[in-house]
């Protein structure tokens, strides 16, 4: 009975207790947990715990510790619950001993019970976690034109590094403001660090933390901001220099290419505008500004040009006296030479071209004449005969003259080149150079020396027919040479020798010296031609020594001839050549036209 009652009572009590607990919710406190103990400077330390459930009742916590080496029952309670904050215990210097193991535990206690936490074994020397480093300064400096960041800091003021009690190691980290990751650098025990490889124009964040020899890392210090200004890095300078050099090279290459291909480029970009080309139009004449010459070169006598212009024969023979020196007589008649040279020194513009102007005998050619030829008398017996030789058989060839004699020949030597002139459209003008030297008479030579004087006179090519002593030139009207015209020169007829040759002497201005033999010579107009061998000359009224000529004329001239000044009178056997003969106003006859019938 009693036993049953005892058991029942116990059960009843248990039931009441549980009922009470359920209704009120109070229990003994839960088990607290010691979180950590830390020492900031290895001189003090603090511990923190986490309370368990309080069981609905006010619970107080108390920390108890024992120290190694002391007696087992020497349990001490925490000296300071407040300094380190809530649920903490702070041990100041007097309560801190290094290299001693602390056994710490926390007890939670409320009205219903108490609970003790698991003990923690603490050696203060190994739980050091310093405060953050202080006074962090970042300074921008340059070294060899390269910027770097110099970061300085101080250890936490509580950590005594000066006495050697604590030795701290530092770590620095930085990142650009907009960067994602931190860049960490281990700085060792120094309180300064240089950071290179910075991006200019950005703001950097710098932080430092520290750690004792064996302990825990501190927290990262407060952030220091520093801005890297924009600058021109030396690397960029060298890059720019490289770019400049390359572009210069490329430019030079292009310039050289353009210079070489200048013409082709020009022709490609700016195709040449074809200029007007008019046959017979000499641009040189145009440039020289002699409009008369230009127009004459066009083959028109006067302006506007007549339709017959092109049909006119233009032929002339020029003597090229480029080898003039050779023509000088051995005896060296000064006056002759002088004459030869003086006129020879004149520049003949029609060098190399067919010219209708020359310092030579100008004889007018009839319009219709297509061929003219000039007779040159040659006396093979005489010294210094000039031979005409034909170079080639086709048209447009050179005629070469050979001088065999010692004496001066009026004709230029074969060495000189006779340039063929294209038949120019110069119509009325032709020149005939008469040879005089073949006569072997010194005196005879005078006449024709002038002809040789002009330099580089042209010879019209001609299919020459050599007949006997005489040699004729035929001038083809091929291409009209475009030569500037010179003033007309007159030839003075010396005399008519027995071989029916006309010995001409150029009438040059400013005769220096006239040999006495020739004094008294004067002009003679040609009044007509009889057969092909006789030139009828007119005499001026005041002419001297005309009796001979007249006699000659009288002998040869058919009775129908009359002497008239300025006109040619007389009938001739009809020849087409003569019909076309025109008399210039001066009354001179173009023998070329006269002889054209042949």
């Amino acid at each position: 009975m009693k036993e049953a009652c005892g058991a029942k009572c116990v059960l009843f009590l248990l039931f009441v207790q549980t009922w009470l607990v359920e209704n009120t919710g109070h229990t003994s406190p839960g088990k607290p947990v010691l979180l950590r103990c830390r020492s900031p400077e290895k001189e003090t330390f603090a511990c923190w715990w986490q309370p368990g459930s309080d069981g609905g009742l006010s619970t107080n916590y108390s920390l108890y510790y024992t120290m190694e080496g002391s007696r087992e029952d020497a349990v001490h309670e925490c000296p300071d619950y407040k300094t380190a904050g809530l649920n903490s215990c702070y041990f100041n210097k007097t309560y801190t001993s290094l290299w001693i193991t602390y056994t710490i535990s926390v007890v939670a206690q409320n009205a219903l019970g108490s609970k003790s936490s698991d003990p923690m074994f603490v050696d203060v020397a190994y739980i050091v976690q310093p405060h953050k480093p202080e006074n962090i300064s970042a300074e921008l400096r340059t070294q060899d034109q390269k910027p770097y960041l110099m970061v300085n800091w101080d250890p936490p003021h509580k950590a005594d590094t000066k006495s050697g009690w604590i030795t701290l190691q530092y770590e620095i980290r930085l990142k650009p403001e907009k960067g994602a990751e931190w860049e960490s650098h281990y700085a060792g025990q120094q309180k300064q660090f240089n950071v290179f490889s910075l991006h200019p124009g950005e703001v950097y964040l710098v932080q430092v933390r520290c750690k004792p020899d064996h302990g825990f890392w501190s927290e990262w210090s407060s952030t220091t901001y520093i801005e890297i200004p924009d600058y021109f890095r030396p690397r960029d300078t060298s890059v720019w220099i490289l770019i400049a050099v390359l572009s210069l090279c490329i430019f030079l290459i292009l310039a050289w290419t353009v210079a070489i291909k200048c013409n082709s480029i020009k022709s490609y970009l700016l195709p040449p505008v074809p200029g007007p080309k008019i046959i017979g139009f000499d641009t040189q004449l145009l440039k020289s500004g002699k409009s008369e010459d230009l127009l004459n070169a066009l083959g028109c006598q006067g302006f506007p040009p007549t339709s017959d212009c092109e049909d006119l024969l233009v032929e002339f023979l020029e003597v090229d006296d480029s080898d003039e020196q050779k023509l000088v007589m051995n005896e060296g008649k000064d006056d002759l030479e002088g004459r030869v040279k003086s006129s020879g020194n004149e520049v003949d513009n029609d060098s190399g071209r067919g010219s209708c102007n020359s310092h030579t005998l100008l004889l007018e050619v009839s319009n219709s004449s297509t061929k003219t030829f000039a007779q040159v008398g040659g006396n093979s017996n005489n010294k210094g005969s000039v031979k005409l030789s034909r170079k080639s058989s086709t048209n447009g060839k050179l005629l070469s003259f050979e001088t065999t004699g010692e004496k001066t020949n009026t004709w230029p030597t074969t060495n000189s080149s006779f340039l063929l002139a294209r038949q120019s459209s110069c119509h009325n003008i032709s020149k005939i150079h008469r040879e005089a030297s073949s006569l072997g008479n010194k005196a005879d030579m005078h006449g024709n020396t002038s002809t040789a004087q002009s330099k580089s006179k042209e010879y019209r090519e001609l299919p020459s027919t050599v007949s006997g002593d005489q040699k004729t030139w035929f001038a083809d009207e091929k291409h009209a040479p475009l030569l500037p015209f010179k003033s007309v020169e007159y030839v003075e007829v010396q005399k008519l020798n027995q071989q029916s040759m006309l010995i001409l002497k150029p009438k040059t201005e400013g005769h220096k010296s006239v040999p006495p033999e020739f004094i008294g010579q004067e002009y003679t107009k040609v009044s007509g031609v009889v057969s092909d061998r006789v030139l009828l000359l007119l005499r001026d009224t005041g002419a001297q020594g005309s009796s001979d000529t007249q006699e000659g004329k009288n002998q040869a001239v058919p009775p129908s001839l009359q002497c008239q000044v300025g006109k040619m009178v007389g009938t001739f056997p009809a020849s087409p050549a003569l019909e076309g003969m025109q008399l210039a106003a001066s009354g001179y006859v173009d023998t070329a036209a006269v002889l054209q019938s042949f």
Binding site: K42, E43, E68, G69, K93, T96, S97, L98, W99, I100, T101, D118, P119, M120, F121, D123, A125, D160, T161, K162, S163, G164, W165, T167, Q189, D213, H214
Partner: protein, 224 residues
């Protein structure tokens, strides 16, 4: 022959010259110069003690893993270290209050007392097949280090005594230390390896710390 002998002499002289190891910058009488050389000694010794301490920490943690799987368990027997008899300053003020001679002496005492136990430790570990070669090598290295460090500190103390930095009162204490260390080493034999290592880790930390304090007290210019 004469030339050869002369040449030989010259070479020998040169060789002798070569043999002369690099002396400190100032080897003669200057007080500043002497301090400089003491500073070098200090640095070397402190480096050595750092290495020693880190090695002992590694070994200790390794042994704890092997022999004590659960850390901080209640009732863990914390046997006293055999060097607990040696009075050592256990706080900063205490250490700063201790004069340099005593501090030097404490260091030496600690080092001396650990020479034999560590040798025994190495011998016991050498035959232990369970441990890795790495651990065994470390144990050997540890005992060697203690020897070297003790020698280094002794030389440094001699130098300091020579320079008058510390007095000559140290010499009297050494014989007493010898007897102390033998009994201590007997005690150490009974300790377990990991406990031994824990004690040594602590003592090496003490040594390192005391040396640093000494250095910053005697030669504060460099790195204090």
């Amino acid at each position: 022959m004469r030339q050869v002998s002369v040449l030989f002499l010259v070479l020998v002289c040169l060789d002798l010259e070569y043999r002369i190891t690099s002396a400190p910058i100032c080897a003669h009488g200057d007080a500043g110069c002497h301090l400089l050389s003491v500073s070098d000694l200090f640095d070397r010794v402190i480096q050595h003690s750092n290495r020693m301490h880190s090695l002992s920490s590694d070994l200790h943690s390794e042994f704890e893993k092997y022999f004590l799987p659960v850390r901080n368990q209640i009732g863990r027997a914390t046997r006293k270290c055999h060097t607990s008899r040696i009075l050592t300053p256990n706080g900063k003020e205490n250490a700063q209050r201790t004069d340099r001679e005593e501090l030097t002496q404490v260091i030496l005492r600690l080092l001396v007392s650990w020479m034999d136990p560590l040798l025994q430790f190495h011998q016991s570990v050498a035959h232990n097949e369970e441990l890795s070669n790495f651990s065994r090598n470390k144990a050997l290295e540890l005992s060697d280090m203690v020897h070297e460090l003790k020698n280094g500190v002794e030389k440094m103390a001699e130098k300091m005594q020579l320079l008058g930095i510390i007095s000559n009162s140290l010499n009297g204490l050494f014989p007493a230390e010898a007897s102390l260390s033998s009994s201590a080493s007997n005690e150490a034999r009974h300790m377990r390896d990991y406990e031994l290592l824990r004690c040594f880790q602590r003592d090496s930390d003490k040594v390192q710390n005391y040396l640093k304090i000494l250095k910053c007290r005697i030669v504060p210019e460099h790195g204090c």
